[in-house]
Subunit: 204 residues, 2 copies
Amino acid sequence: MSQAPAYHHGDLRAACLRAARELLEEDGSAGLSLRAVARRAGVSATAPYRHYADRDALVSAVAAQGYRELAEHLSAAHPAPSTPDDLAAVAVAYVQFALEHPALFRAMFAEPCDPTSEERVAATAVISEYVRTIVRDAFPGADDTGALATTVWALVHGLAFLHLDGKLDSSTPEVVAEQVRAAVFALFSAAPALSRAATARSNQ
Amino acid sequence: MSQAPAYHHGDLRAACLRAARELLEEDGSAGLSLRAVARRAGVSATAPYRHYADRDALVSAVAAQGYRELAEHLSAAHPAPSTPDDLAAVAVAYVQFALEHPALFRAMFAEPCDPTSEERVAATAVISEYVRTIVRDAFPGADDTGALATTVWALVHGLAFLHLDGKLDSSTPEVVAEQVRAAVFALFSAAPALSRAATARSNQ
DNA sequence: CTTACAATGTGTACACCGTTTACATTAGGC
DNA sequence: GCCTAATGTAAACGGTGTACACATTGTAAG
């Protein structure tokens, strides 16, 4: 006897998240429709509404998971970075993550982010704080850790996007990695100048 | 007698582009539908297909126009930048453009760019070359202009996106401008180190 | 001037989508 | 065991991209 499919799914919330993530990886952002998610979860078209207010809420949930995975990926690249070299390795991992999960990365950053998504805001705050911590550990003497961290993040984030859009040479992972490293090192050697410039300008 | 609306529009191609651009600014990416464009142009729903193969083609056309406008905006910030200060002003203009036209900027960079759009590829190449030229003029002595230009672009591009996503303090234009300037100056002071680091690593 | 053709715009139709509403089923606490 | 809240279903509405057949018009050759 085949067991009749249960009326209640069991954990539809998680199933939707998983299905959405899969569809995103397979067909990109356009393929991520609520109906497709419902089909993949083996459930009626409107069932997901019991767990997600609307499509945006589901996308935000996927994005939030993406932030967590990104954090894990960075940690895996180096658990406790304390030197510029360590930090560069983390930067490479950041760009690598974007290139390996382009649709997810775009969902995380490229769509107008609705500020009401508590989960999403919290997850990005974690990333932000993580970058800040790394920079402080790698550069304990920096005058303005916050500014330096922001600059590093922006540089790496920009590299990731330009690569995603095919504006840079992404032929091989090695080429990408070397470029990221070079750019990050350039910034590091300028850390003192960063605060100097900011101070000079704010005092003028 | 009111003149009967002509069966032929006259310049529907341009009208669609204009309507699309308006809708993008008004309602964001979600509001940019082919049908809405047709309505705004006062034409049947399928008429735009005579001029644009599909929705993506129209979006690409809008994006291409955005690239041209961005180039103009940068030129307006400084027609012939030749010092680090000039270059920083251009960088500020870049971020400013993104913040003033968020939906357009996202259409230009945040969506999966189809490489078949000739117009789009050409327009981004112009931007890329433009950045390169500026960097060369401002730093004639740099060992690797290409690498430096890429790094500058990535940094500024990343700042633009992080601001767009509300991940940085964008409370006032001055705050944003100062942050961009500080970050760019930090990079400039490291220009020699950029090539040194790259050389050292490729030789090891 | 006519006539044929190519370019351009219209109308209809289909499948898909997000979302709302009313209803059905079931799990779990009293 | 029953009641209620949680969960899933079914039907329906308006919107969307797009293909197809058809209508209209500018234009150039005869």
